[in-house]
């Protein structure tokens, strides 16, 4: 009973906060609701016994991605009436994409029901929880069978990151930067010379 209660609690809050993400007026509130949605999905994963995925969800999405969202959203200077105008303009295409997604989700759902059990029995591929914790199970699958795909996904992310940096980086020659190596390597003789000045002659 407690299990069902927890599930409905997490599920309700997830759906509610997902709705609030798109309907709240203040973008910072939207990000906060997004975080709440992430949290409750993590709770759902824990109920499924997938504690590793739950923790990774919190670390990656809540701890890093949502922080960056927040960072950006807080610095935006947003005119809300301007946003409303955009809402009218983008409603048709947004609605279309939403409909397509909904249709696909429904198709997946129905297709699953029609085709019967997938492959033989998915549970046979997964070792029992008593033999192997799911962290180990994920690791042993990800780094053996799917090692290539995993590495490729990592490389794609790396390329995307480098691309973003290259596109947005501009070299500013007028900015003075500290070079700590230069500072540490600087010796007494580099900065000044000691000149013996003879009386009456000056440095001429």
């Amino acid at each position: 009973m407690i299990y069902a209660l927890c599930f409905y609690l997490f599920a309700t809050i997830t759906v509610f906060s997902a709705i609030m993400v798109i309907s709240s007026r203040n973008p910072v509130h939207s990000v906060l609701y997004l975080i709440l949605a992430f949290f409750n999905s993590a709770g759902l994963f824990i109920l499924l016994g997938a504690e590793f995925i739950a923790m990774i969800l919190v670390i990656v999405y809540v701890g890093a991605v949502a922080v960056l969202f927040m960072f950006v959203v807080m610095m935006l200077d947003i005119d809300y009436s301007e946003l409303r105008k955009g809402f009218q303009k983008y409603l048709p295409i947004g609605g279309l994409i939403g409909l397509i997604l909904l249709a696909e989700l429904l198709l997946v759902g129905f297709g699953w029901g029609l085709s019967g059990p997938v492959t033989t029995d998915p549970a046979t591929a997964i070792p029992a929880l008593s033999e192997m914790s799911n962290t180990e199970a994920i690791g042993s699958l990800l780094y053996t069978k799917y090692a290539f795909l995993f590495q490729m996904a990592g490389l794609i992310l790396l390329v995307a990151m480098i691309g973003a940096i290259v596109l947005t980086h501009r070299a500013r020659p007028d900015v003075k930067k500290q070079n700590i190596n230069d500072q540490v390597m600087r010796r007494r003789g580099d900065a000044y010379d000691i000149v013996k000045v003879k009386p009456g002659q000056g440095l001429g």
């Binding site: 407690i2 910072v28 906060l32 975080i35 504690e51 590793f52 923790m55 990774i56 919190v58 670390i59 809540v62 701890g63 890093a64 922080v67 960056l68 927040m70 960072f71 807080m74 610095m75 914790s133 962290t135 500290q178 700590i180």
Partner: protein
């Protein structure tokens, strides 16, 4: 815990508890057994911190309230409690009050998975270390929300600095955790402690192995994560007058303050669990095991806390670009290299844990 409670109620009041009530009561009792002593420790650690700085600056520190000034923290707490909670007119009230509560709660919930002794842990999670990492990565929200909700430039600058700083140092901290995990082969904190028994020459703990540089990086990242000097840029009082805390008064401020110290002690506990051997005595020598494990554990936390105070008393604050350089250009490559080296070492010496 639950069985014990059922027995206790039967013996004391002649009432048989319903199982689910016993479980809930057991959890609540466990939480209280951790949180109440923790709050006392937090109060005393503030006192110790001030005493250590005072000693290092040749002052006497708090010495008026109570014997040797021991009651100073309680006096400060009472003073804060009696002050007025001021909410700025242009602040976002809900988030403004949510932020300090969040900081405080997050600093407390991390303790749920800390093993104080063999088997003495509230929640023996399989992914304990990820839990701690997740909780500590959430700590940034308390600061960033308070900075934004205050609607003040100083607070906002502090929040921006802090979010960038904490996200940056989390990365290298994550790699440090990975090196330890590769040596242990488990994410469970109790397993991590037990794996450190007699690591090398009878010394308990990873600090006496080639993981020592990782311990230094973890410690410095912990300083940055908890906004302690030399990384206290989010509250740099000389430039942005206490940063994200500037609009807070009374208990809202106290929650930030206590949360910060609870976080520091949590980080000390993590350092002792990951590198100093947790509840194990420093050397694998039979008579040392006669002393209970929790005493060793708290002794290690005490030592790490002293080092925290020591750093604060002696090191000047970093400049922002230096902070970013240290995080991304020094710690990240070193810890990444160490992950590769540790993996190679384990592979070549055939020591990969099963």
């Amino acid at each position: 815990m639950a069985d014990l409670l059922v027995e206790f109620f039967q013996w004391g009041f002649g009432v048989t508890l319903v199982p689910w009530l016993a479980i809930i009561l057991g959890i609540v009792a466990g939480v209280l057994a951790i949180v109440l002593p923790l709050l006392l420790i937090v109060a005393m650690s503030v006192y110790m911190d001030r005493k250590v700085w005072a000693a290092m600056q040749m002052r006497r520190g708090p010495n008026v309230v109570g014997p040797w000034g021991l009651m100073q923290s309680f006096a400060d707490g009472l003073k804060l409690f009696l002050k007025e909670t001021i909410i700025p007119a242009s602040a976002n009230k809900f988030i403004f009050l949510l932020a300090p509560a969040l900081t405080f709660i997050l600093a407390l919930v991390g303790w749920a998975v800390i093993p104080f002794d063999a088997g003495v842990v509230l929640a023996d999670l399989n992914v304990g270390i990820l839990y701690i990492f997740a909780i500590s990565s959430l700590g940034v929200y308390g600061i960033i929300l308070s900075g934004w909700a205050s609607n003040s430039r100083y607070a906002f600058l502090g929040a921006l600095r802090s979010s960038a700083q904490m996200v940056s140092y989390e990365v290298s901290m994550g790699f440090v955790l990975v090196t330890v995990l590769m040596c242990v082969g488990s994410l469970n904190l109790s397993d991590i402690v037990m794996a450190q028994k007699d690591t090398f020459l009878g010394v308990n703990g990873y600090w006496f192995t080639p993981l020592f540089p990782m311990m230094i990086i973890f410690f410095i990242s912990a300083l940055a994560e908890t906004n302690r000097p030399p990384f206290d840029l989010p509250e740099a009082e000389a430039e942005i007058v206490a940063g994200y805390q500037v609009e807070y008064s009374s208990m809202a401020f106290a929650l930030f303050f206590l949360g910060e110290y609870a976080n520091i002690i949590l980080m000390c506990a993590m350092t002792s669990i990951l590198f100093l051997g947790g509840w194990l005595p420093p050397f694998d020598w039979e008579p040392l095991y006669l002393i209970p494990g929790w005493i060793w554990f708290f002794g290690k936390i005490f030592f790490m806390f002293f080092v925290f105070a020591w750093v604060k008393a002696t090191v000047p604050r970093y400049r922002y670009d230096q902070l970013m350089r240290l995080g991304w250009k020094v710690f990240l490559p070193i810890s990444l290299l160490w992950v590769v080296l540790t993996g190679l070492f384990l592979l070549l010496t055939d020591k990969i844990p099963a």
